[in-house]
């Protein structure tokens, strides 16, 4: 593992905010330890010179030949999910819309 920790407790709080997670004090301590251990392991990647290597985002990029897929379809109306069944899975609705707590905070 790396000698100097990569992630600080401020980083943990900032990232938890970005991810919409609320960590308890205990969770923060464990997260700090685990993220540093994992990123220490990840730092091995720096042994590789990748300056000339294109990033690979999708498997289709390396399958080659004529694997370019036809993913566009004609723009026609098709049935979608039944609203009642979708709403049945939601914590709070008025039947037509999802209901949430106050959006604007003061």
């Amino acid at each position: 593992m790396s000698d100097s920790p990569t992630v600080s407790v401020e980083d943990v709080r900032r990232v938890a905010g970005l991810a919409n997670l609320e960590l308890t004090a205990d969770e923060e301590v464990r997260m700090l330890r685990d993220l540093n251990a994992i990123l220490g392991h990840v730092s091995q990647l720096n042994e590789l010179d990748t300056a000339e290597v294109l990033p690979m985002a999708q498997v289709s990029e390396v399958i080659g030949n004529s694997q370019l897929q036809e993913v566009l379809r004609s723009d026609e109306t098709r049935p979608s999910l039944d609203r009642d069944r979708v709403m049945a899975g939601a914590p709070e609705t008025n039947g037509a819309f999802f209901k949430v707590p106050k959006v604007i905070e003061r």
Binding site: D11, L39, V42, T50, V53, S60, V71, G89, V100, K102
Partner: protein, 483 residues
């Protein structure tokens, strides 16, 4: 704890179909046999999160109706199948092993499951797994771990632990699982069953609760290679509802599987037999390789030089994608919502904090960190670059060999709790499986022996993109040579 032998001798798919067609046995009796086995063993193993007897027996009766009329039965007629709980089956619960989806019922059915049902399969229920398929031991399920049917103090592997254990214990004839970094192959190895990782794009993922979209795949578990080929043939193919599914034709996977291995070039990568490989696993895998050589295969030593970098690459890419995919669990449209939040943002945070378990939070945090401003190039882009190097390793190797042989996992099933507090050591359980996940190639795990304590050991066979037929052909030879 003594090692137990796994249940009764499993049935094969063709036997089931034939005995229903001939009237020797009813479809309902096969489903009932699985439910009896579930009643007898699942209190201990905990492979199922929910079962649906009524729906299953209704499906079975309709198969019996077809048989009575003398109609030609579909290929999976009467075959009792369990589904990993990350796949949607209309009206049934879909928890993904998470509290955040407790009580959620799917409003539609995944394409892979639809295809099984159209082929006559009987859906028994939903199978336990690591939360959002994140784990290598099934200990991350919010509903409690699954135990290995071969040794109840050991893990079944993960994340599709329930899917592997159900087949191993005779509680289903086949199951569906998902594999993002090894989640089909590693539990197949630990539980002594066959598990296929199809090529990326081979099986539609419509109706799968997403973990890492450039990696996630759906595949079957079965007790033997032929059944795996049969189920794969049913679920494979293009789906207009999944833009990443391939339109490449689906061959008859059973057609060429008995051709044997004479003349085939099989590569053995030195990097997979290095430090960290349990000697019992090495012995079983090497014995299998010797048998293939004796059967006429040309065994070639090869090198996949970037293998060492696969775990860090995987854990950046998979967590980055997961952090985006799991943003949708926010207490608005489905699942758990924390009560009494004054504002929307507090509701988001508290629902996610209460709904997600520790490993899921860890991965969301890692992925969010890797994608955050100032770190993107150092982590995410770097990992994508190394991903290409790993994929190119395989493309170069496949210019010289027809398939590649490796151990599926570095050890047999480990004990519950053994790695639970050390994420890095847990991640290393996937060391031989994440490479194929990143490259998008196909593969499978087939049992190749047992340790002295009776724990199953799996051989991993990897093949080119869309060359599942080759992988199955080699696997069939491995299975036959052991008998």
């Amino acid at each position: 704890m003594t090692v137990e032998t796994a249940a009764t001798k499993p049935l094969s798919i063709s036997n089931i179909r034939d005995s229903i067609a001939s009237g020797a046995r009813s479809s309902s009796s096969f489903a009932e046999a699985c439910f009896c086995q579930i009643d007898a063993r699942d209190a201990q193993i905990h492979a199922y999160l929910s079962i649906n007897r009524e729906r299953a027996l209704e499906q079975a009766m309709s198969m019996d109706g077809l048989a009575k009329k003398g109609e030609v039965l579909p290929v999976l007629a009467g075959v009792p199948i369990g589904i990993k709980d990350v796949l949607m089956v209309e009206g049934l619960q879909a928890t993904a092993g998470s509290r955040i989806l407790e009580g959620y019922r799917a409003p539609y059915t995944a394409t892979a499951v639809k295809k099984l049902e159209a082929a006559g399969a009987i859906i028994l229920g939903k199978l336990n797994c690591d939360e959002f398929a994140m784990g290598s031991s099934n200990e991350n399920s919010a509903y409690g771990p699954v135990r290995n049917p071969h040794a109840l103090d050991r893990v079944p592997g993960g994340s599709s632990g329930g899917s592997a254990a159900a087949v191993a214990a005779g509680m289903a004839v086949a199951t569906l699982g998902t594999d993002t970094g090894g989640s089909i192959r590693q539990p197949a190895s630990f539980c002594g069953v066959v598990g296929i990782l199809p090529t990326y794009g081979r099986v539609s993922r419509y109706g799968l609760i997403a973990f890492a979209s450039s990696l996630d795949r759906i595949g079957p578990f079965t007790a033997n290679v032929r059944d795996a080929a049969t189920v794969l043939g049913v679920i494979a193919g293009h789906d207009p509802l999944d833009a990443t599914s391939s339109s490449q034709l689906v061959p008859d996977y059973t057609a060429e599987m008995d051709k044997g291995v004479a003349g085939l070039r099989l590569g053995v990568p030195s990097e997979y037999f290095a430090e960290g490989l349990d000697p019992k696993v090495r012995a079983a895998v090497e014995r299998s390789i010797d048998q293939l050589r004796a059967a006429g295969a040309v065994i070639k030593p090869i090198s996949l030089p970037h293998t060492h970098y696969a775990i860090p690459t995987y854990y950046i890419i998979a967590t980055a994608e997961a952090s985006a995919n799991l943003a949708r669990f926010d207490g608005v449209r489905y699942g758990f919502r924390a009560k009494d939040s004054d504002t929307l943002s507090a509701m988001y945070r508290r629902s996610r904090d209460g709904g997600f378990g520790p490993e899921v939070k860890r991965r969301i945090m890692l992925g969010t960190y890797a994608l955050s401003a100032g770190y993107y190039d150092a982590y995410y882009k770097k990992a994508q670059q190394v991903r290409r190097l790993l994929a190119e390793d395989f493309l170069k190797a496949f210019a010289e060999v027809d398939a590649i042989l490796t151990p599926t996992a570095p050890t047999p099933a480990f004990r519950l709790g053994e790695k639970a507090d050390d994420p890095v050591s847990m991640y290393l359980a996937d060391i031989y499986t994440v490479t194929a996940s990143l490259a998008g190639i196909c593969g499978l795990s087939v049992p190749c022996g047992k340790s002295r304590e009776g724990l199953p050991i799996g051989l991993q066979i990897l093949g080119k993109h869309f060359d599942e037929a080759m992988v199955l052909r080699v696997a069939q030879a491995v299975e036959t040579l052991q008998q």
